[in-house]
Amino acid sequence: QDDIKIGYINKMGDHPWFVAEVAGAKEAAEAGGAAFVSQDVQFNADLTITTLDTMIGDGVDGIAIVVPDRALGPIVAARAAEAGVPIIAVDDDIEDEAGNPVPYVGLNAFAIGEQVGAELAKLYQEKGWEKGSVGIVSIEDRKADTCMQRNGGAEKALLENSDLGEDQIIRAAYDNTMVNAIDVMTTTLTANPQYDHWIFYACNDDGVLGAARAMENSNYPAENGIGIGIDGSRACDAFGNGRESAFKGTMWLNSENHGRDAVNLLLKKIKDGTELPEATYSDPEFVTLENFGDYKSKLCSS
C-alpha cells in the first residue's frame, strides 16, 4: 500500500489533554509516512458516527477513536468491521456487539483513581491529623462515566488505606471547569465549618487545582489541604511558581504517548499485519512540587 491515511476522532478536541494527544498521534503518523486527519466531536455521539462514516468514505486505512459515550462501542466496531478498517479505542474503552473488547490504548481509569487514593492516604498519615477534623471532598462530574470511575477508585483506596470513613465524604458536583471547581469548593468549605482539614480528589487537575485555589482564597493554610489531581494539565499552573499549595501532586499521564502509541500500533497492523494488542495501558508518573523540575520542560508551554 502506498498512501496510508489514519483517522483520529476525539471527544473533546479543545481540552489540553486531547490537544497533546492529537499532536502525538500526528507526529507518529508523519514519522510513519502516513497522512493524518483528526476530528473533534465535542461529546456528540451523532457527530461521532457521521465523522466515522465520512472518514471511511474518505478511504482511511485505520482509525483511532476516543468515544464520547461508551455505549457507541457496538456501532463503531460494526461500522469499522464492515468497512474492513482496523480500529483502536483510546482513553475510553469500548466493546463490540458480542461483548469483546476493542483493542485499547490508554489509562485504566479506576486503577489511576486507586493510585490517587493511595497517595492521599499516605499524605494523610504523614500529616497526623485527627480523624474528626478531616473533611473529604469528592469533586464529581457525574455526567462523565470515566470521571466517576476515577473518583470511585480514589474513594476506595483512600478509605481502605486510612481510618477515614465514608460518612466524612462530601460529594460536590462540578462541570469539569476550574472556575466552577473554585466556586463549588468555596461553598463546600463554608457549608462545613466543623472541619479544619481537607482531602479532595477529582476527575482531573482542573477540579483539584480549583479546590486548592478555593482553600487559598478562603484563607486556609496550604498545609491544611491535600489534593491530588489526574492528567498533569494544570501542573505548571500549580507548581510553576515554586510555592506550596493544597495541590500536592498529580498523576501525570502523557497523553501524547497515547496518541503516538495508538497510531504506531495501527501503522504496524496496516503495514505488516501485526495484530492489535487487546490493551496497552500507560502508567502515570506522580509529579509533585519536589520533582516538578524534572518535568517542567514537558509540562509547561513556552
Partner: protein
C-alpha cells in the same frame, strides 16, 4: 395605475415570478451553498461528489434538519424553543427504556413521540397560559428535561439491541438511508403545512403581529400550544433517530447543543427574531450549508482550531452575501 395595472403585473415575467416565489434570501443561500460545493469539490473532487459522501452529508444532518424545520415553525409563530436538545436527550432515554422493557421497536417509537409531545405540551402551556417569555420557559425546561433524563437513566447510557429499531438508524430503502427519508418526509410535510395550509399560514400572522391576529379572530393560545407540541414531537423524532443511530439512550451526548445548531440553521434560513418570517426551504438550505461545511472540513483535514475559525467565517459570509444581494435588489 389603479386596477388595470393590477392585473397586468399579476402575469409578470417568468424570472421575476421565480425569484418572488423562491424568495431572494433562499436564492442567495443557494448561491452560498453552490459556492461551498465548488470549493470542496475543487479540493477533494475525488470523494466529495461520490454518492456515498453525499449520503453521509445527508445522514449527518438528518436530525438537525428535522429540528431546524420545526424550530422554523416555532420562530415564525413568534416563539423560540431552546429545550429541543434536551427533549431529544430525554426521548432517547424514554425510547431506550421502552424497548428495553417491552423488546418492541414500536413501543420505542411510541414512547419517543409521546414523551416528546408531552414535553412540548409543557412548554406550550407555560408560554401560553403562564404568560412567561418563551426564552425563559424553554431555558428552564431545558434544564428540567435534562434533569429528568439523567434521573431516569441515572446518567448511564441504556443500550438498545433491538434490530428492527436499529434499522431506522442504519437501514435503507430504494438506496436511501432511512434517516434521510424521514428528513424528506418531515420537510415535505412542513412545507405543505406552513405554506399551503390555512392553519400554517396563520402562524405567519400570529408571529408577525399577535394583536392583529387576535383582532382577526385567530385563537392564539390554541395555536401557540400546538406549535410547541409539534416542536416536541419533532424533537421526539430526532430522539428516535439519535437512539437508532447510536444504539443507545443517553441524556446528553449527541443532543447537547443541538438547539443552538437548529436555531442557527433557522436564522441562517431567514427567520427573524421577532417572528412572522422564515421558510422551510430556507431552513433546509441552512442545514445543507452546515452539513456541507462539516463534511468538507473533515475531508480537507482542516485542523480543529482552524475549523472553528473557518466555520464562523463561512457562516457570516454566507449570510452577508445573502443580505447583500437582498439589499441591492
Amino acid at each position: 395605475m389603479s386596477v388595470g395595472s393590477l392585473e397586468l403585473n399579476n402575469r409578470g415575467n417568468f424570472m421575476h415570478r421565480f425569484v418572488e416565489r423562491v424568495g431572494i434570501h433562499n436564492i442567495s443561500l443557494l448561491v452560498a451553498l453552490i459556492g461551498l460545493l465548488v470549493i470542496f469539490g475543487a479540493l477533494r473532487g475525488d470523494v466529495f461528489f461520490s454518492t456515498r459522501n453525499l449520503l453521509n452529508i445527508g445522514m449527518g444532518v438528518a436530525i438537525l434538519g428535522v429540528l431546524a424545520i420545526s424550530q422554523t415553525g416555532v420562530i415564525v409563530s413568534g416563539g423560540l424553543d431552546i429545550s429541543v436538545g434536551s427533549i431529544v436527550g430525554l426521548t432517547t432515554v424514554a425510547t431506550a427504556m421502552a424497548i428495553q422493557s417491552t423488546e418492541m421497536a414500536g413501543m420505542g417509537l411510541l414512547a419517543g413521540l409521546v414523551v416528546g409531545g408531552l414535553a412540548g405540551l409543557v412548554n406550550g402551556l407555560l408560554v401560553t397560559y403562564g404568560r412567561i417569555n418563551a426564552v425563559i420557559v424553554t431555558l428552564g425546561t431545558m434544564a428540567i428535561f435534562r434533569g429528568i433524563a439523567f434521573i431516569l437513566s441515572d446518567g448511564q447510557s441504556i443500550s438498545i439491541f433491538n434490530d428492527t429499531f436499529r434499522w431506522i438508524g442504519t437501514g435503507r430503502m430504494l438506496g436511501l438511508p432511512i434517516p434521510i427519508w424521514i428528513l424528506v418526509l418531515v420537510a415535505i410535510g412542513f412545507y405543505v403545512f406552513m405554506h399551503k395550509s390555512i392553519v400554517g399560514r396563520n402562524y405567519y400572522a400570529i408571529g408577525g403581529n399577535p394583536v392583529v391576529a387576535r383582532l382577526s379572530g385567530l385563537s392564539i393560545p390554541r395555536y401557540r400550544v400546538a406549535i410547541y407540541v409539534l416542536s416536541g414531537v419533532m424533537a421526539g423524532v430526532g430522539g428516535i433517530l439519535l437512539a437508532a443511530r447510536t444504539g443507545s439512550g443517553q441524556p446528553i451526548s449527541g443532543s447537547d447543543g443541538l438547539e443552538l445548531e437548529a436555531i442557527t440553521a433557522a436564522f441562517l434560513g431567514g427567520c427573524a427574531m421577532q417572528g412572522g418570517r422564515g421558510t422551510v426551504v430556507g431552513a433546509l438550505l441552512g442545514v445543507a450549508i452546515i452539513g456541507v461545511l462539516n463534511n468538507g472540513m473533515i475531508l480537507t483535514a482542516v485542523p480543529t482550531f482552524y475549523q472553528m475559525l473557518a466555520k464562523g467565517t463561512l457562516l457570516i459570509l454566507a449570510v452577508f452575501l445573502a443580505e447583500y444581494r437582498l439589499n441591492r435588489s
